[in-house]
Symmetry: C2
Subunit: 129 residues, 2 copies
DNA sequence: TCTTAATGTTTACGTCCGTAATCGTAATGT
DNA sequence: ACATTACGATTACGGACGTAAACATTAAGA
């Protein structure tokens, strides 16, 4: 058994994330619907998708609501929550917890286009209002 | 066998990263020295450290230079290279490849302190020189 | 009613990871 | 010369992951 509402949440794996993405985009969905969607990107079998949905349910990441003889799946954790966790992990692990270091790194390594930079400038203005 | 100078580089795992960190800080080092250093943070046995060094050598992430009957280990891939790869992975996976989206996310979620923001402003000025 | 299709559950299996013990060999101390 | 030590290499082992087949159940069609 995985953890259930007391321990720290299990991490969502790469493959599981692909499933979450379709549920974040639209939910609730049946397993078959999720499979259809996710198969556009990865070419998984229905069996695989069902395994992933089951694991996500165990991890408390998705919720299952019975609909006749089948289930409708919906995300429990929000996308922003997940994205935030992952971002923070990266910043903590590689940049000593300093987000500005991440930013500096991106800037130095040409990872920021001119467009990125002007967008960020605009955001900064907004933040400081 | 892992990949050897033709395939895409194997990823460096979490535990392996801890070993790389000490080598990035100072190198070359013997396995025992790496163990001493890394044991400050994680409490690994020498055996574990040797396993990790071996795996890193196979992955082509560290280089071994014989020194008498033992090896001196040095990083092959640079820290900035690794950090850049990981950062890009995050941006690609979660932000559709747009670094400014990552920035926006951090800004919206209070992950940026006032200090972060002023540092970033300064960086922006510098970039645009 | 009997077969078939749909769906969740269980089991499978190779790989990677974290963590380490064991083995083989060579050096070093006595 | 022999025992001990220091290393690298090999093997181990449980858990997570990616990927999926097999199984059980139940609804629906013939």
């Amino acid at each position: 058994m995985s953890n259930r509402e007391d321990t720290k949440p299990d991490r969502i794996s790469e493959a599981e994330y692909a499933v979450m993405e379709v549920l974040w985009d639209k939910s609730p969905l049946t397993a078959a619907d999720v499979c259809d969607e996710v198969s556009k990107a990865r070419g998984w079998s229905l069996a695989t998708v069902k395994t992933l949905l089951g694991r996500l349910a165990n991890k408390g990441a998705v919720e299952t609501r019975p609909d006749g003889r089948r289930f409708l799946y919906s995300p429990i954790i929000a996308r922003v929550e997940y994205v935030d966790g992952e971002s923070r992990r990266l910043v903590d692990r590689l940049f000593g917890g300093r987000a500005s270091s991440l930013f500096a790194h991106l800037a130095e390594n040409e990872a920021l286009s001119d467009k990125d930079i002007s967008e960020i400038e605009a955001l900064l203005q907004e933040i400081k209002q």
